[in-house]
Symmetry: C2
Subunit: 100 residues, 2 copies
Amino acid sequence: MKALFVSLTVRPDKISEFLAGAEDDSTCSVRDEPGCLRFDVLKDANSENKFYFYEVYVNDEAFTAHTQAPHYARWRKAAEACVESSQRIDGQVLFPANYK
Amino acid sequence: MKALFVSLTVRPDKISEFLAGAEDDSTCSVRDEPGCLRFDVLKDANSENKFYFYEVYVNDEAFTAHTQAPHYARWRKAAEACVESSQRIDGQVLFPANYK
């Protein structure tokens, strides 16, 4: 099980546009991709323009499929307009053992 | 909905002990705390001694209850023995809107 934690700093004047893009990507990923088990969008508790994505895929192929989905292309367009910088952590889920 | 992302660097000679403590804390938190909706334990894809906790609680009170649970006391003991350093991000879940 592959997990990503992405930290995003958003242009302060583009937060609404960012949120619309993030909601679209997270909603469509979980709804339309059998290999995407989770896509949570978080706002930092102490900053108005820091956000995080927590994503879980069944394997590397499922993540590749994610990057080829139509909602991912829409997200990339929104990210180019709105995201100042981002950092990504790649992890493997250890627990829970039976992920759902 | 309150979310935490905790980055942990573990003493290389204490990884087994750390994993036992992390599994105990994550399992008991989701099983025994009505306010803990998620507690995923990740291993960094590129490091043998970096790990992450992704935790979701229904509100601040649920997180306070977490820190008063018996498994949390066990976890703190394991963390003191095994964890070299840790960093915590506090967030609020924006999406999915109906978290489960």
